[in-house]
């Protein structure tokens, strides 16, 4: 086992514990009858012993062991507390500090240096302990040789690529001992819907504190529960109380304000250059982030809450229509912000009605087409980056593109040159308010197909709606919505003197826009990134800024579902959590401006709607 990487951890933790020991000793000295300082001292010294023994620092371990023995005797009432005992323990803590200091400087340990002190400690403890035999004498608390214990790790909810982070945490655990029974299996780490929580069994000789510290060192770890705590944690997690949604909304709003204030503070601290202010600002930033994560987590509810409504509705609809339909749902455990969840029910209902009414054929038609009489509608939810994709798929007749083409030509929405309807174009036509190819008006989905409503709702949520359809095989609608509405992580981009926020959920990467790599695809300018031509959108041009752009410009690769675009801006200005403000678009504002926010420096900025740009 390579322990060198824990050296820094060992030093930092030991120093912390030794500092705490001095505090406890001072406290104890003031009131010799107090038991709490003794307990604290015992635990701190015990932890140091466990770490030192693991690291092979025998002098430190022996000193800690003998100190612990004396503390144990005091704790157990076999040795009466006295000023002499306290003084001796002060000396022991000093000696430990010296010994740890030597380790830190990489100097050799000196076994003889502490001979007199060790003798004094043994004498004070009644010489009961005898010479150190660490394996046998491991304290009563939590160090047992080669103990197997359950470990639960939770990766921070806001951390990017939680699966990768989880694997790094697991790697750290593997360096400590044998890892078994990883749940969910490590293959889950590769999935986008992995929720960042996993457990495993660890067999090794380290104490729980060291295990936790080592795993936390993997970064972005929210929580590590070791041993008994795992059970306690799970039980605690199941305890619930009812909270008025209004309170959560109010709390969320407050946190939103706090995020704006935090960003502002960070900005001021950054410009002042004062170290103490910077540190405090960073600390506040971390606390606010943690709080934001907690509030968001409290607002999360499983998609199943919405999905569960549909089977019954679908059954009744199918009966009215004289059709046989089975509706299945998967991914119901995926969670969404309550506010998002409340908004997706209606558009999903439109899509399901649409599938039942226009998609699924009558049993006779299905049998004639060689399909089972019973049609299927599949609902599914999957995590994709910071969005959730909800799909409604049917195995019905598919959308009749020819009929739509004819209809679109007649009302002038499709030019005469268009002969093939792409999925995108199809959606645009279907989304026109009131558009319908239905030759009859059914009582179910009415005259229009309700797609306009679904599209509008998706856009209002900062999400997207897309469709794929194959004649005779079926249609799949995909509604993509953000995990949460209130606070969005955004990449800030500048053009001219203006700043714009691009929600990070739709940013695949940033590249350098190089005019030499520009080509044209179907009359549109496109830049080549790793052999793929991506259409470019020049933000300068779109918002009408005059003057010359800088020579070196970044391109932000936006990705919405399968579609991509390279947004060329003047410069990137970093990331920020932004609070989306209610936004009443003034007349004449380009459609790709989807909201407004207040930036860290107090200035307003507009939020770009990625879906309208790709």
């Amino acid at each position: 086992m390579d322990l060198s990487k824990y050296a820094a951890l060992f030093l930092a933790e030991s120093r912390e514990h030794l500092a705490a020991c001095n505090q406890s000793l001072l406290e104890w000295e003031r009131d010799l009858a107090a038991t709490e300082p003794v307990g604290n001292l015992f635990r701190a010294i015990h932890t140091i012993k466990g770490m030192a023994a693991t690291m092979g620092h025998d002098t430190v371990a022996a000193l800690a062991h003998r100190t612990e023995s004396l503390l144990d005797a005091v704790r157990g009432g076999r040795v009466a507390p006295s000023p002499d005992v306290v003084q001796l323990l002060f000396s022991a803590v000093d000696a430990l500090t010296t010994a740890v200091g030597r380790v830190g400087r990489g100097e050799a340990e000196d076994d003889n240096e502490h001979g007199a002190l060790l003798a004094d400690l043994d004498a004070a403890a009644g010489a009961a302990a005898g010479p150190a035999d660490l394996a046998d004498q491991a304290g009563p608390a939590d160090t047992a040789p080669l103990r197997s214990r359950l470990v639960e790790v939770v990766i921070r909810p806001m951390a990017p690529l939680r699966g990768g982070r989880a694997l790094l945490a697991l790697r750290r655990a593997e360096a400590l001992g044998r890892v078994q029974d990883v749940r969910p299996g490590a293959h889950m780490f590769e999935r986008d819907d992995f929720d960042g929580r996993f457990t495993f069994r660890l067999t090794g000789d380290l104490d729980d504190g060291m295990v936790e510290a080592a795993i936390r060192a993997a970064g972005d770890v929210e929580q590590v529960l070791v041993g008994d705590a795992v059970q306690g944690g799970s039980v605690a997690a199941r305890r619930q109380i009812r909270v008025d949604l209004g309170r959560l909304d109010a709390l969320m709003k407050q946190v939103g304000e706090l995020v704006v204030a935090r960003n502002r503070l960070a900005d001021i601290a950054g410009r002042s250059g004062e170290a103490a202010l910077g540190e405090t600002s960073e600390r506040i930033a971390r606390l606010v982030s943690a709080m934001q994560g907690e509030v968001l987590a409290a607002r999360m509810n499983p998609v199943a809450e919405v999905f569960d409504r549909f089977p019954r509705v679908a059954r009744d609809l199918a009966r009215d229509l004289g059709k046989q339909v089975r509706i299945d749902a998967e991914g119901g455990s995926i969670e969404l912000d309550r506010a998002v969840l409340d908004e997706i029910g209606e558009p999903l209902l439109h899509l399901i009605r649409n599938a039942l009414d226009h998609g699924i054929e009558s049993p006779a038609d299905r049998i004639a087409a060689g399909k089972p009489a019973e049609g299927r509608v599949q609902l599914s939810a999957t995590r994709e980056r910071n969005t959730v994709a909800i799909r409604v798929s049917d195995d019905g007749r598919g959308i009749d593109r020819a009929a739509i083409l004819v209809r679109g030509r007649r009302d002038g929405s499709i030019g005469p040159d268009v002969t093939v309807l792409s999925d995108d174009l199809l959606l645009r036509i279907l989304a026109r308010a009131g558009f319908s190819t239905a030759t009859r008006v059914s009582g179910v989905s009415g005259r229009g197909v309700g797609i306009d409503i679904a599209v509008t709702r998706a856009r209002a949520l900062g999400g997207t709606l897309s469709v794929t359809s194959e004649q005779g095989k079926g249609t799949t609608w995909t509604l993509r919505v953000p995990l949460t509405l209130a606070i969005v992580r955004a990449l800030l981009a500048g053009v001219g003197d203006e700043r714009y926020a691009v929600p990070i959920a739709f940013v695949a990467e940033t590249v350098e826009f190089d005019a030499r790599q520009v080509s044209a695809v179907r009359d549109r300018e496109a830049m080549v990134v790793r052999n793929h031509a991506i259409p470019t959108v020049h933000l300068r041009r779109e918002v009408g800024i005059e003057g010359n752009p800088p020579a070196r410009r970044p391109g932000i690769i936006l990705e919405v579902g399968e579609r991509r675009a390279a947004l060329v801006v003047d410069r990137l200005l970093g990331q920020q959590d932004i609070v989306v403000e209610p936004f009443e678009a003034p007349d004449g504002l380009p459609p790709f401006l989807g909201g407004a926010t207040i930036l860290a420096d107090g200035a307003p900025a507009l939020i770009l709607d990625a879906a309208a740009l790709v």
Binding site: L168, F194, G219, A505, Q575
Partner: protein
């Protein structure tokens, strides 16, 4: 003298950005590579303390480069530079031997934290 770093990314923009972040923090950029093949060759000759590796690169991708480098030097310290949505690739890179990862677009503090973890 700061730790030596080899920066591997096919975009000059990214290389410049990473180099700036790390050199400002006291690291010494000893080499840059713009393909997986170059990364392996440069690692062989430079033996840097740290490598930053883009996942998607021409001529042998970042993950294969990690595999190749770790085969020759199992103690190599490689930090992957990934993008959102590359979960499966990042997992594969760690299995290949990468020690940590950062996600584009970069925040300097996150990059430095990850570097500290890798070197720690």
């Amino acid at each position: 003298m700061g730790h030596s770093v080899l920066v591997c990314d096919d975009a000059i923009f990214m290389r410049t950005m990473i180099s700036d972040i790390l050199s400002q923090a006291g690291f010494e950029i000893v080499g840059e590579a713009e393909s997986g093949v170059q990364a392996v060759q440069q690692y062989r000759s430079l033996r840097p303390d740290l490598v930053t590796m883009d996942i998607v690169m021409p001529d042998m991708g970042g993950i294969d480069a990690v595999r190749e480098i770790c085969k020759e030097d199992p103690s190599a310290r490689i930090l992957m530079c990934s993008a959102m949505g590359q979960q499966a690739l990042v997992v594969e890179a760690i299995q290949a031997g990468a020690k940590d990862f950062v996600v584009k677009p970069f925040q300097p503090s996150r990059v430095l934290e990850a570097v500290q973890r890798v070197l720690g």
